[in-house]
Each structure stands twice: as structure tokens, then as C-alpha cells.
Amino acid sequence: MDDRRETGEPDDELARMLADLFERMEQGDEEAKNAVFQLLYEDLYRRAARHMRGQPKGITLSPSDLLGELYLKLMHSGRRHFLDSAHFLGFCAKVMRHVLIDYARRKNSQKRGGDREREGYEGITFAGEGIQVDILDLHHALEKLDEINPEAAQVIELKFFGKVTTKQIAEIMGRSTTWVDDKLAFARAWLRSRLGD
């Protein structure tokens, strides 16, 4: 990934804290869940910012890189059982989404001083082989989709932000893979029609 050889404590510390929290979470502790979210959020945000800082235009940052890095660190937390579960991936997807959105927002306000005209806006875009999408637009579209079809929105969140496979999504949501494929198709077409405007 990169050549930093940090033996830095923060990650070890993080791993230890997460290990505790995971255990509490598994016992159904809602607060622990929030704490895990918060911890992961901060960590991922820090990593994202570090990646982006001072990078020239055109450099890429993929969520899977970020997650992969985090994952490796957490491997040492001794909670591999949880890490290997599809639910952890789902969890990360949500965190990832927020990290990226907030990063884009903050970047946006730094550069443009807040809610300026969108024209010329230099934010974060996703580019697949298809159309390019501004991440904030995607976020708003997903919020809208969440209102009309929460499951479709969740599937996209998992698939896109969490790099969760169809099979894993099926596991997380307790559905069949065909169901997931259908939801994905619907969500993609819906988002595409909305974002293509």
C-alpha cells in the first residue's frame, strides 16, 4: 500500500479498544456500537486525509485501500472472528460512506468558502467506466433512495462503499443473492437516472 513503517501506538491502541468494543457489541451493547463507529470513523478519516494531502490532481484513493489498511491493523486485535464476518464489512461500509462525504464537504468548504456555486467545483468524483458522479450528489441521491426504498439504498451502500460481495450482502441482509442482484439493478438504474440529470 505505502511504504510507511509505522510502529505507531495509535493503531495498536485502536485495535485494543476496538477489541473490547466488539465484544460488548456482540453482547448487544448499542453504545459500544456507536463507539466503534466513532473510532473507525476517526481512524478512516485520518487515513483518508493523509492520503489526499498534497496529492496532485488525478491521484486515486480507493475505499478498499483504506479499509484494507485498517483491516490489517485490526487483525491484531484478536477479534478475527468479528472481522471476518460480513457484518463487519457492512459496518465499515457505513463508516466509509460518512468519511468520504465529510471529507468532500470539508474540502468543499475550505476551497470555496461554503455553499458557493457548484460551477467549477473541485470536489471528489467517482468515475467508473460509466458516468462521473460527484460524491455529494451521490450521497443526496442515496438519502432520497433511502426514503423510497431503504433496502436498495443499503445494498448500494454495502456494495459501493464497503466493497461487500453480493453473497456477503445476502448474508448481512438475510436474503437471497438473486434478491440482492435485483435490488442492485433497481438501485443502480434509479441512481443513474437521477444523477444523470
Binding site: 489526499m52 467506466e129 466493497k163 434509479w190 443513474r192 437521477r194 444523470g196
Partner: protein
């Protein structure tokens, strides 16, 4: 999105979206209208979603989609890319070509200082082609095939392929007339390359001068492997390649195989030799028709050209033969003919003993770098100096794509030599690998399969325990024969491809692979099983049945023959012969039936069974030769002698086939004799036979009743569907359009549920025909045509085309009408009408394009005899009159009697081009006065 979206029933929209996207494109709109019950807002929303249901990688998960910080990705490649540095290594120059998948630029590899060709692929559309071409190029790291040097995405340009720059001229008429000796050498080299491609289980499929460049030394290099590969199912690729260089069987809708490539090589060699272009590329339908009609005599005429020397004829003739069965079996055999001195794929002998002797084998364009001596030194260092060892090392370099044998010696580039010298490539294991003893049983299975395999697949094929398979696989990996792919499957290493196979297994695997080009999902499995050569006959049976269902007659015949040659047990032999007959008879292919008859005669079946099959084959041949009555008598009399299903089905099929070709009065008697009076026998087959006879006799009312009865008797849902199709047919003949529309809708529903694409397309067309008949002239429907083309069902396509032509004609679109009719003519030839082009299509073609190859071979009366229905006959006479040609004696009488036979209201269905009034008016204009 509109303001109303909040009030939309999104659950309904989602459901309809998911259902509608499962429908074929042509019927989506109608389906949606029906299901949404006319709710405009819902329909609008679903349509919007469908329009955005594009598989273009949108929101693909990270890995494909990447978070980018830049906004200004260039969308289209700039036309002038001079100076652009690709991958930091290749400087781009001018455009040197454009293809379907993208533009090709000249480039310079700045590190190695060599020219390269860079293909920049168009986005979206090219994605599939890229994968296919990349796969081909990676697989074909062969001498004589353009080399892929590098590939990857460029942020600005999109996906780029960097290829070796090939200089040369197209191998074709532009090169000629060329001396025979040069043509022979180039052709031999081309065949050698082709043999290597075929050995990898691939077919080029689009060999033509533009894809074969010949260097000044006369060495050919193949370009553009965009469509080559393992052949696809016939249904979706009826016409792949370039018409002018397409083999006749491919023009006939067969799947291209090795022998089709050989035909193209023959054409190119001939054209280079004579400087004459055999087919004009201009008009595709005309070219295709000419291709289909190619005869041996025509080939003889070509070869009689004075520019073809005597020595060339025996070599070119086999390649040019219209029938693939008469061409050499493989490029390897053809190559041996062209270069008898170097039969097989041998190389110039390597003389050993000294560095200088070794140096003598090196050739190449880079002599300025002293390649021969440097290369010889390196070779000397790495080998024992023994001739065999040196040869093995050179072969190993070739497998590693470092150098290549060509006709004049061994070619190696400076850069590759440097790599060798730098120790970049360790000594490559010798070409004859040692197979670990314990892994021997598994090897043939792996060896015949071109694709990666998993342990589980092999375990099933070889009937071994998975653990045992894994043990053997590990041994093969250890020995360097197999490698593990990224996906965790096993694949052969270059060393592995050199493992010799038991002769019989190799032969069979190769042949079956060829025959099996019909493309079936089970192909891989089949090939694996092919390794089990003790069970070859059973596998051939399996393959033949699938080829038969895939409507690939050539593949079916070939597989059957192969199966029969392996001395199969009696049961399999019998099964193969039945499949062979069932495949060839409905297609009216005399040649195939004659072969089948010969094989039946040679078989070791019990006398009675053999005789029965012989009788069936003879009867079919007699019918084809116009001796229908005698054919019937030739059929086996003792129908109950063989109670087995295949025989019964065959017998039934032949009787139906004969029946349709008998005069009406005889039909009546035959049906009676066959099944007894239908009232007494409730057998569904009897009802069916009667119904068909009534239909042929144009007693439509009775036919309709009988089909209705048959529908009541239908034992299964599947049978119900096909009977329903007949019920629909009679309703349309009776011109009960409302009724027909209702039945068609029901049938569409059943067919959709059963996902039967063929019936769906037919019913779509029927619904369209109903609209046409009702006087609601529908617009031309290219989507429907495409859908029908995808079905790959030639006779049906011919019919649809004819009606599209009629619609275009009425819209005054002469050009489209002519194109459609030309294609209709071609389709009818390929399909169920034997060698005859559908007479109605031909007459219509002559009316629309009077100058285009008038076909005077048959008279109007001949055509009337060949016509399928009374309405066809009436129109044939009218079309002749409309062309302003004289009506032969008797034609007028025939017009009147036939017209009288047609119930007034049955007109207007399916392929009627003219209305009754138009027919009458046309004939009247010739001075006659027909009475209705």
C-alpha cells in the same frame, strides 16, 4: 425526476422494472403497458429506469470505480495525439488505422527505441471486444501473430493496447499477380501459424487480406484477433467475418471452424497469385448468395485461369472446395502439402558443434546489432552444444515469447537477447517434460482442456477422489506442467502444453473440440470427458445430440461420424445413426443423407434395424428428388417392429416430411392407413396428422377444429404451447383476427413464462402481422428483425424479412425493401427449403431489383410447383405480370383455379406481399380477365 415521484408507488415501479428487464427488448414496451394497466406515471418511471439500466460499470464497487480527485477526465481520445506519452514509455504519432473497436496510432517505445502500434479502444462499446482481443493475443503468443507488448488504461485515452508494429502489404489481390513460388512460401508460413492457432483450440474467423500483412521477405503476420477465439453458439453468430472471404458453410449459418479459416487462406492465396478479386465487397447479400451457391465447377473454373500454374492447382483446389468436408482436415495437413520438405512444424536443422554453426540459424532484421553472434554465444553458454539441446532451448525461448522460428531461421530481438544475457530468464526446462508417474492418469484431462480447471471438475471427469486429484495436481504443479491461476484454478504452463498425449486421446480431443464448435455451455465439461477415451462413443452421442439441438448440422454430422468411427457398442451406433438422420432429413441436405445412408449400410446393426434405417434414408432421398409417391412405398411397413423412442420419432418425422410433399388425394389415403379414422382413435398424433393434412389441403376450418381438439388432448404444458401456436396459425389463416389476437396474447404469456425466445419472437411477429392484416400499417421494426436474427432460425427469418420488405416497399423505401428481400432469398437458401430459394422471395427480388442477377434458371411453372401455399402461387403469377413479362400458357388458368381455392378472407397473413385486388389488377393488365 419529477415532483410527482413522492406519490409514486415505488414498490410497484421496482417490481415492474425487474419484470420488464427480463423481457426481450422488442416486447418490453407492450409488456409494460399491459402490466402497468395504463398508469402513465408508473410506465414513465419504469421506462426511465430501463433507459438507465446500462451495464457500463456505473457504481461498480471500488476496484473498478475509484475515488478520484480530479474532474477533467478526457472523454474522447484527441484526434491528434502526437507527443502524448503513453504509460510514460510510448510516444504517440499519427493515426495509421481505424477499426471497429478503436483507432490505431503509430508510436515509439522510448526505452527500447522500437516502433509500436497503439490501439486506443473506444470506451463502453469496445469493452467486450477488448476482453476478447486481449484474451486472444495473450493466448496466441505465437510467431506469425502480432505481439501484444503492453496494455492498460490511460487516464486520458482510455484502454490502450500496445502492439508490435508490423510492416507489410495485405495478402490478397493487391499483392498480385505474384510468382507461384512466393505465394506458396507465404501460404505455407500462414498455414503454419494457423496450425498453431488451431492447436490452441481457437479459430481466427476473420482471415482476409487486411488482417494478414506480408513482409518484404514474404513472411505473413496476422493482425486483428478481435473476433477470433473459441467459436460461439450458432444462434448469436450466424454471420461473423467478412463476406468476401467467408467460407460457404459460414455464409450458410454454420459455425466457423478450422476448415473455414482454410477456405479464406485459399482465397487469399489465389487472389495474390492471380491479382484477381473473386468477390466484390460491395453488396453483402449478393456476395453471401454467391458464397452459398459456390460449386466445385466454379472452383475448377477459377483454377483454369492461365495465371494459375499446374503446380498450384493441386494445392489450391482442396482449400477452395465449397464443402468443408472436402477441404483438408486441419491447417497442419494443409501445411504439409504446401511444404512437404518440412512436414509438420519442423525447423531448419540446427547444426551443432561450434558457435558459428549455431549462429547460422539466427536471422532477423536487427543484424546491425550482431544478433547472430551474440545470440549464438548466449545459446552456447546455456546449453551443452548438442544439436538436440540447442534446438530444445530455442523452442523454449519461443514458448517464452523471446524469439521465434520462421521459414528462414530463428528471429530474436535485441531487447530479448539483452534480457537473456542479464539472466532475466533462467534456463527454461527442456521441452519434453517429465510427467510424475503418479500424476499420469490425470494429465490427459487437463491437457485437452484449453481453459483453467478446478480440482472438483477434474475429480468428476476422471471419477477420482478429490483428495487424489489434488495430490496429482500438486505433483503436476511441482513438475512445472501446471500452474495455479490467480483465480485459484489450474492451467497448463507452456511446458505443460508440450506434454505428449496418448495419440488416440489427442486425436479425439482435437476433433471433438472442432466438432463441438456449436458452442454449448457444457463444452468444457465435454472436453474434459473427452480425455476419457474409452468412453468416446458415449460422449460423441452426447455431443451429437447437443449439436443437433443447436441446429448445427455440420457439427452434428461430424460428431456422429467420429463417434461411428470409434467402433461404438451397438446401442450407441444405432443412436448415432438415428441422430444423424434426424439432423439431415429436415434440412433436405442430400449430401448429408447420402453419407448417413452409407454409414447405415456399413454399420453392424442387426439386419432388421439396419434395413429399417436404410429405408427411411432412401425414402427421404427419393422425396428430395421429386419421387414422393415411390418414397412412401419405400418406407418400412412394419411400424410396430421398433418400439424404441428414437426410431419412432424418426419414423414419425419422416412420414410428416413425406406427407407434406404428397398430392392431396394421396395424403388422405396415407393418413387413413396410418392412424385409422381420427374419430375412432383418440391419439393425439392422429389428430395432429389429420390437422396438418387438412391444412395442406387448405381446408382451414376443419384444420382449426382438429387443432382445437388436439389442444384439449395436450398432455403437458410444453406440448400445449406448440399446439397453441398451430391454433393461432389456423385462426390467422381464417382471418379471424380478433380471435387470433387473443390466442397470440395467451401464447405470448405462456412462452414468456417458459422463456422460449423463439416462440416469443414468432408471436411478436404474428401480432405485427395481424396489425398489418387489419390495415394498420406498422412502422418498420429493426428491433424485431434483430431479435429474429438472434434466434438464428433461417426459414423463419426469411419470412419475417419478406414481410419487412413488403412494408418497406409500401413505404416507398426501395433500398431497404431490396436489401430485405436479398437477405430473405439468402436465408431461405440456408434454411429448410433445401437448395431452392423460396420462389416468392425470388420473384419479389426480381421485381424490386430487375438488374440484379436475373435468375432465368427456372420457369414460372417450376416456381409455382415449388410454392408452398395457394396464395404464394397467385402472387407469383401476379409478380410476373407486374414485371411486364409474358405469362406462360396455363398460367392464367392456374391463377383462376388457385384463386378460387382460397377462401376470400384468408388473405393478408404473414408473407403476402400483394393484396388479392392487386394480384387481380396485375394479371388483368396483361390482357386477361380473371374472375373472382
Amino acid at each position: 425526476m419529477t415532483e410527482d415521484e413522492d406519490s409514486l408507488d415505488w414498490d410497484l415501479v421496482e417490481r415492474l422494472f425487474l419484470q420488464t428487464r427480463m423481457q426481450p427488448p422488442v416486447k418490453r414496451e407492450a409488456f409494460l403497458e399491459r402490466m402497468a394497466d395504463g398508469d402513465a406515471a408508473v410506465i414513465e418511471a419504469v421506462k426511465r429506469l430501463l433507459a438507465n439500466d446500462v451495464d457500463d460499470g456505473f457504481l461498480e464497487p471500488p476496484g473498478h470505480a475509484t475515488l478520484l480527485t480530479h474532474l477533467h477526465a478526457a472523454d474522447a481520445p484527441r484526434p491528434d495525439l502526437t507527443g502524448h506519452l503513453l504509460f510514460g514509455q510510448y510516444a504517440l504519432g499519427l493515426v495509421i488505422g481505424r477499426g471497429a473497436t478503436g483507432a490505431v496510432y503509430a508510436g515509439l517505445d522510448q526505452f527500447r527505441e522500437r516502433p509500436v502500434a497503439v490501439k486506443i479502444l473506444r470506451r463502453h462499446r469496445a469493452a467486450k471486444a477488448v476482453r476478447s482481443e486481449l484474451a486472444s493475443l495473450r493466448l496466441l503468443r505465437l510467431p506469425g501473430v502480432v505481439r501484444l507488448i503492453d496494455d492498460g488504461p490511460d487516464a486520458q485515452l482510455g484502454y490502450c493496447l500496445v502492439m508490435e508494429m508490423v510492416e507489410g502489404r495485405p495478402f490478397g489481390p493487391a499483392l498480385g499477380p505474384m510468382p507461384w513460388e512466393s505465394v506458396r512460401r507465404t501460404t505455407a508460413a500462414l498455414l503454419e501459424t494457423l496450425a498453431r492457432i488451431h492447436a490452441r483450440g481457437m479459430v481466427h474467423k476473420d482471415l482476409k487480406p487486411g488482417n494478414v500483412l506480408v513482409s518484404e521477405e514474404g513472411l505473413p503476420t496476422m493482425l486483428d484477433l478481435g473476433i477470433s477465439g473459441v467459436p460461439k453458439p450458432s444462434a448469436s453468430t450466424p454471420l461473423i467475418g467478412t463476406p468476401s472471404y467467408m467460407a460457404p458453410e459460414v455464409a450458410n449459418g454454420e459455425v466457423p471452424d478450422e476448415r473455414s479459416d482454410l477456405h479464406a487462406v485459399g482465397l487469399m492465396a489465389y487472389e495474390a497469385l492471380t491479382g484477381k478479386k473473386l468477390y466484390d465487397a460491395g453488396h453483402t447479400p449478393t456476395t453471401l448468395m454467391a458464397k452459398r451457391g459456390l460449386t466445385r465447377e466454379q472452383v475448377d473454373d477459377w483454377l483454369a485461369d492461365e495465371r494459375v500454374p499446374d503446380a498450384a492447382r493441386p494445392l489450391l483446389a482442396p482449400l477452395l472446395q465449397p464443402s468443408p468436408f472436402e477441404r483438408p482436415e486441419s491447417a497442419r495437413l494443409a501445411h504439409a502439402q504446401f511444404e512437404p520438405a518440412r512436414a509438420g512444424l519442423g525447423h531448419p536443422a540446427v547444426s551443432a558443434g561450434s558457435e558459428a554453426g549455431v549462429a547460422a540459424v539466427f536471422r532477423g532484421h536487427e543484424r546491425v546489432f550482431h544478433i547472430p553472434s551474440d545470440a549464438a554465444r548466449e545459446l552456447w553458454r546455456r546449453t551443452t552444444g548438442e544439436a538436440r539441446d540447442v534446438q530444445a532451448e530455442l523452442d523454449a525461448w519461443e514458448r517464452a515469447r523471446l524469439g521465434r522460428w520462421e521459414a528462414d531461421g530463428y528471429h530474436i530481438g535485441r531487447a530479448e537477447l539483452e534480457e537473456l544475457r542479464a539472466g532475466f530468464h533462467p534456463r527454461i526446462p527442456p521441452a519434453q517434460p517429465t510427467v510424475p508417474e503418479g500424476a499420469r492418469p490425470l494429465l490427459p484431462y487437463v491437457r485437452v482442456v484449453p481453459a483453467p480447471v478446478t480440482a472438483a471438475m477434474l475429480a468428476e471427469a476422471a471419477r477420482l477422489e478429490v483428495t487424489e486429484v489434488e495430490r496429482q495436481l500438486a505433483a503436476l504443479v511441482e513438475a512445472g506442467i501446471l500452474r495455479i491461476t490467480n483465480a485459484g484454478a489450474y492451467a497448463l504452463t507452456p511446458l505443460g502444453t508440450a506434454v505428449p498425449l496418448p495419440a488416440r486421446a489427442a486425436d479425439y480431443a482435437g476433433r471433438l473440440a472442432n466438432a463441438w464448435r456449436g458452442g454449448h455451455p457444457g463444452r468444457l465439461e465435454l472436453l474434459i470427458r473427452a480425455g476419457r477415451d474409452v468412453e468416446v462413443p458415449a460422449e460423441a452421442m452426447y455431443a451429437a445430440r447437443h449439436a443437433f439441438r443447436g441446429a448445427s448440422l455440420a457439427a452434428c454430422v461430424r460428431v456422429c461420424e467420429l463417434g461411428l468411427r470409434t467402433n461404438p457398442p451397438a446401442g450407441t451406433e444405432y443412436g448415432l445413426l438415428v441422430v444423424l438422420l434426424r439432423a439431415s432429413i429436415p434440412q433436405s441436405r442430400e449430401e448429408a443423407i447420402e453419407r448417413a445412408l452409407m454409414l447405415v449400410e456399413r454399420s453392424r446393426l442387426p439386419q432388421a434395424k439396419r434395413r429399417s434405417l436404410e429405408q427411411i434414408a432412401r425414402a427421404a432421398l427419393l422425396t428430395m428428388r421429386g419421387k414422393g409417391a415411390r418414397a412412401w412405398d419405400a418406407l418400412p411397413t412394419d411400424r410396430d417392429a421398433f418400439r424404441d423412442e428414437p426410431h419412432f420419432v424418426l419414423d414419425e418425422m419422416v412420414r410428416n416430411y413425406l406427407m407434406r410433399r404428397l398430392p392431396p388425394e394421396e395424403q388422405e389415403a396415407r393418413v387413413r392407413a396410418l392412424h385409422g379414422p381420427p374419430d375412432a382413435a383418440e391419439r393425439i398424433a392422429a389428430v395432429s396428422a389429420w390437422a396438418w393434412v387438412r391444412l395442406l389441403q387448405t381446408r382451414f376450418e376443419e384444420a382449426a377444429e382438429l387443432f382445437d381438439r388436439q389442444l384439449e388432448l395436450a398432455p403437458t404444458e410444453g406440448a400445449r404451447m406448440s399446439i397453441l401456436a398451430n391454433v393461432l396459425y389456423t385462426r390467422m389463416l381464417l382471418f379471424r383476427l380478433e380471435d387470433a389476437q387473443r390466442i397470440a396474447t395467451e401464447l405470448l404469456h405462456v412462452a414468456t413464462e417458459r422463456r422460449n425466445a423463439q416462440i416469443i419472437a414468432r408471436v411478436e411477429h404474428d401480432l405485427r402481422a395481424i396489425a398489418y392484416a387489419k390495415g394498420e400499417l406498422p412502422p418498420r421494426d429493426p428491433e424485431l428483425l434483430d431479435a429474429v436474427r438472434d434466434l438464428g432460425h433461417a426459414p423463419f427469418l426469411g419470412r419475417v424479412l419478406l414481410q419487412e420488405a413488403a412494408i418497406a416497399w409500401r413505404h416507398d423505401d426501395q433500398e431497404l425493401a431490396t436489401d430485405c428481400v436479398a437477405e430473405a432469398c439468402a436465408q431461405a437458401t440456408a434454411g429448410g427449403h433445401g437448395d431452392e430459394v423460396d420462389p416468392l422471395a425470388r420473384s419479389f427480388h426480381e421485381l424490386l431489383a430487375p438488374d440484379d442477377e436475373p435468375d432465368a434458371h427456372d420457369s414460372l411453372m417450376d416456381r409455382l410447383d415449388a410454392a408452398e401455399t395457394p396464395s404464394d402461387e397467385v402472387q407469383l403469377i401476379a409478380l410476373q405480370a407486374m414485371r411486364g413479362e409474358p405469362l406462360p400458357p396455363g398460367a392464367l388458368d392456374r391463377f383462376e383455379t388457385t384463386l378460387a381455392k382460397i377462401p376470400a378472407d384468408t388473405w393478408g397473413y404473414r408473407r403476402e406481399i400483394l393484396s388479392i385486388d392487386e394480384c387481380v389488377a396485375a394479371v388483368k393488365s396483361r390482357g386477361a380477365d380473371p374472375q373472382r
